[in-house]
């Protein structure tokens, strides 16, 4: 057991740190401009600059523009970016989910056209999976793809699509055969987000921000050459995407929501003004959350170590998200309470909205990327080996399940 960098890791870290220092002017610095993504040009330049240094797609194979590196190296890049205040990569969804899916299932031509541009943020990618009637039960999706000669015609609607409003391409999961059971009869495509018939509408969240979108497809034409994987074999392709999401845990062990250091500063700032009994209560809760953040961090390190030794991440990775979400909510609650009378307003007298804003984003954390309840099902069934929930739509076709109101 050892928490220090190996000599190789230390050399890599120095290399990353030096590069970031030298190219700071071309990198997006957190808090320097508006919110992440508001200045798309800077965000793209930032990613391209890091790509040129060899720090984007670190774990991707070299033939596709990656570095053939380790998850630990990737994690070091993200740590050094965070340390230097560099904003997250704008193309994380493409790097972590869409790109690996193209690598696994795309044609040589698709790989050649898409992958390097994706890593350089020449193109932004989004993932078009969820629908109004298919969220946790993703395989119940209804967006139809119908064959038309060498093309496919797409009609339907996706929702909760992060970054669709800035995306150039997306991976799109569709239903091609509703007469098969729901997990079969799905097909994956690469869709050009600028194609005629694609309409993106931002969705405003309860926090007031608009990070994700609904996307409408009206007779959108996709050539068959943009299909990813076999016709009606889209579920397997989607599982690749979701598995890649698990693999791209570059942030493993980092805090979800507010970093514990910023919470510490906030507690420091406010605790002195409280009565002694109130201080004791704050210490108790802050201590509890400090311990939770340590446990989450070191559990992330265990996962990262397992990844570095070549072990595939299993469903147990979901435990980290569950713990992180719970801790993030408790932390935000503590921080909001410390605002005293300001806790009932959306900003304090200095105009700071940090904690009220965080409070309003956290309900989404327990939903996005697998709801808490779905994650518990996954852990219960796949890790603890408990029997599965009964499924009312088992052994019947998708059309039958819709007719029976079961999907």
């Amino acid at each position: 057991m050892n928490f220090d960098d190996t000599p190789e890791e230390a050399t890599w870290r120095e290399h990353v740190r030096a590069y970031i220092g030298e190219h700071r002017d071309q990198l997006a610095i957190f808090g320097a401009g508006g919110r992440r993504g508001e200045d798309l040009a800077i965000a793209r330049m930032s990613q391209a600059t890091l790509y040129d240094g060899g720090f984007v797609g670190v774990t991707w194979p070299r033939e596709y523009g990656g570095q053939g590196g380790t998850p630990m190296q990737e994690s070091i890049v993200y740590q050094e970016m965070s340390r230097a205040g560099v904003s997250q990569l704008i193309g994380l969804i493409g790097i972590g989910m869409c790109g690996p899916t193209v690598i696994a299932h795309g044609s040589d031509d698709q790989k050649r056209r898409y992958l390097t541009r994706l890593l350089r943020a020449d193109d932004i990618w989004c993932q078009l999976f969820s629908e109004p009637a298919a969220g946790s039960d993703l395989a119940g999706l209804r967006t139809r793809a119908v064959r038309d000669g060498d093309d496919w015609r797409i009609n339907g609607q996706k929702v909760w699509t992060t970054q669709a409003h800035m995306a150039d391409y997306g991976i799109l999961l569709t239903r091609t055969d509703p007469e098969q059971p729901k997990h079969r009869g799905l097909t994956m495509f690469v869709v050009d987000m600028h194609a005629p018939g694609v309409t993106v509408r931002p969705l405003r969240q309860m926090s007031g921000h608009a990070d994700f979108n609904e996307v409408f497809f009206d007779d959108v034409v996709i050539p068959d050459s943009e299909r990813l994987g076999p016709v009606d074999g889209g579920w397997t392709v989607a599982l690749t995407t979701l598995m890649s999401e698990r693999l791209s845990i570059g942030g493993a062990g980092t805090d979800v929501g507010a970093g514990i250091d910023s919470v510490l500063e906030h507690v420091r700032k406010h605790i002195g003004a409280l009565s002694e009994d109130r201080q004791a209560l704050v210490r108790q809760e802050f201590g509890r959350q400090y311990v939770a953040s340590m446990a989450i961090r070191y559990t992330g390190y265990r996962q990262l170590s397992a990844l570095s030794q070549g072990r595939m991440p299993g469903p147990e990775a979901s435990a980290g998200k569950l713990a992180g979400t719970e801790a993030a909510r408790a932390v935000a609650d503590l921080c909001v309470r410390l605002l005293g009378g300001d806790a009932v307003y959306a900003s304090d007298l200095d105009g700071s909205r940090t904690w009220p804003d965080l409070q309003a984003t956290l309900p989404g954390l327990a939903i996005a990327g697998g709801t808490d309840q779905i994650l518990r099902n996954i852990l219960g069934e796949r890790v603890l080996g408990l029997p599965a929930e009964p499924r009312a739509d088992k052994g019947i076709t998708f059309n039958q399940s819709i007719a029976g109101g079961r999907s």
């Binding site: 201590g287 265990r302 030794q309 309840q373 219960g380 029997p387 599965a388 929930e389």
Partner: protein, 327 residues
């Protein structure tokens, strides 16, 4: 970075598991509770295997191992509710550092030690002959009179102790005393890790077998999710136990925080594991004849040993707030 046990530590865990499952069990804990049968495996068997003396140096007849090695063993002890606690030997080894004669008596089992913290109940007092305590800044070695009281968890050998004749072993023992508390907290959390993990396993097994409304109860989300929450807690605790034990061996600056964190988290995780175990079993889980209450007893007692979780969280906050502000 490599945050994982070594192959040797995994082998050690297996060997410890073999010993503890053969020599202790909830059935033993039950006998101790019902008729005062001696705690299993007991001091002699523990000394014979050398498991409790892993952190005693080779020269004094111990294992010359690390706190992390000992934590790996303690987890296995916790799974079967073994006694006396590995905590007792771990703390004595810290306090007696440099005193090879007494360390050798500890390792061989010739002397039965317990460690007395102020006025609080003393772990493994009922099987001890000699007590280590702090008087002012000095470490003393004393006889003691033990008052046994009705136990909740009989495997902990708790009693109130009035010290008798005392010999000063070390004049300025403040630092080693602090370390003995920290190492004790870590090993206590490691035992708790084993207890919680085993309670979870038993609950999961039952949830697979027991049927209600025509289905295994483990298929219901209400039951499944309760068990998953325990699982998540156990894995979080495992990370902190390993980290804290590593800090005890390798990173003195991080030890105080890490030990408190492990202690504080363990209290709640073990308690939740034990209470979930009972709840998943329904009525049978609440009976005397079922083993669930033996795990529950352990959790209800351990949370108060070496300070409770509230004290640990408060101390964690004080340590964090006392750190120099980040620039």
């Amino acid at each position: 970075m490599n945050f994982d046990l070594s192959p040797e530590q995994r082998a050690l865990a297996e060997a410890a598991a073999a010993f503890f499952t053969a020599s202790a069990s909830p059935a033993n804990a039950r006998s101790t509770l019902e008729d005062g049968t001696p705690i299993a495996p007991g001091r002699a068997a523990l000394a014979e295997t050398g498991f409790a003396a892993i952190t005693v140096p080779d020269a004094a007849g111990g294992g010359g191992g690390t706190v992390l090695d000992l934590a790996v063993v303690a987890e296995q002890a916790g799974r079967v509710l073994a006694g006396p606690s590995i905590v007792t030997a771990a703390r004595a080894a810290v306090l007696l550092a440099g005193d090879d004669e007494r360390l050798s008596a500890l390792a061989s089992g010739r002397t039965s030690f317990a460690v007395v913290d102020g006025v609080s109940p003393v772990l493994d007092a009922t099987t001890a002959e000699v007590f280590l305590a702090l008087r002012g800044d000095a470490l003393v070695y004393a006889s003691g009179e033990v008052t046994e009281r009705a136990p909740i968890d009989p495997t902990r050998g708790l009693g109130d102790v009035v010290l008798g004749e005392a010999t000063v072993l070390v004049e300025d023992a403040r630092d080693r005393w602090t370390r003995s508390v920290q190492v004790g907290q870590i090993i206590l959390a490691a035992e708790g890790l084993g207890t919680a993990a085993r309670a979870l396993e038993i609950g999961v097994e039952y949830a697979k077998q027991r049927s209600a409304f025509g289905r295994a109860i483990g298929s219901y989300q209400a039951v499944k999710h309760a068990l998953v929450d325990v699982y998540v807690g156990v894995e979080q605790l495992r990370s902190l136990v390993w980290f804290a034990a590593w800090a005890a061996d390798e990173s003195p600056d991080e030890l105080a925080m890490a030990a408190l964190a492990a202690k504080g988290l363990a209290a709640g995780v073990v308690e939740r594991a034990a209470e979930t175990l009972i709840q998943v079993h329904g009525g049978i889980g609440f009976t005397w004849e079922h083993d669930a209450h033996l795990y529950w007893r352990r959790s209800k007692v351990d949370r108060f040993l070496l300070g409770d979780d509230v004290a640990a969280f408060d101390a964690v906050a004080r340590l964090a707030l006392a750190e120099p502000a980040a620039v």
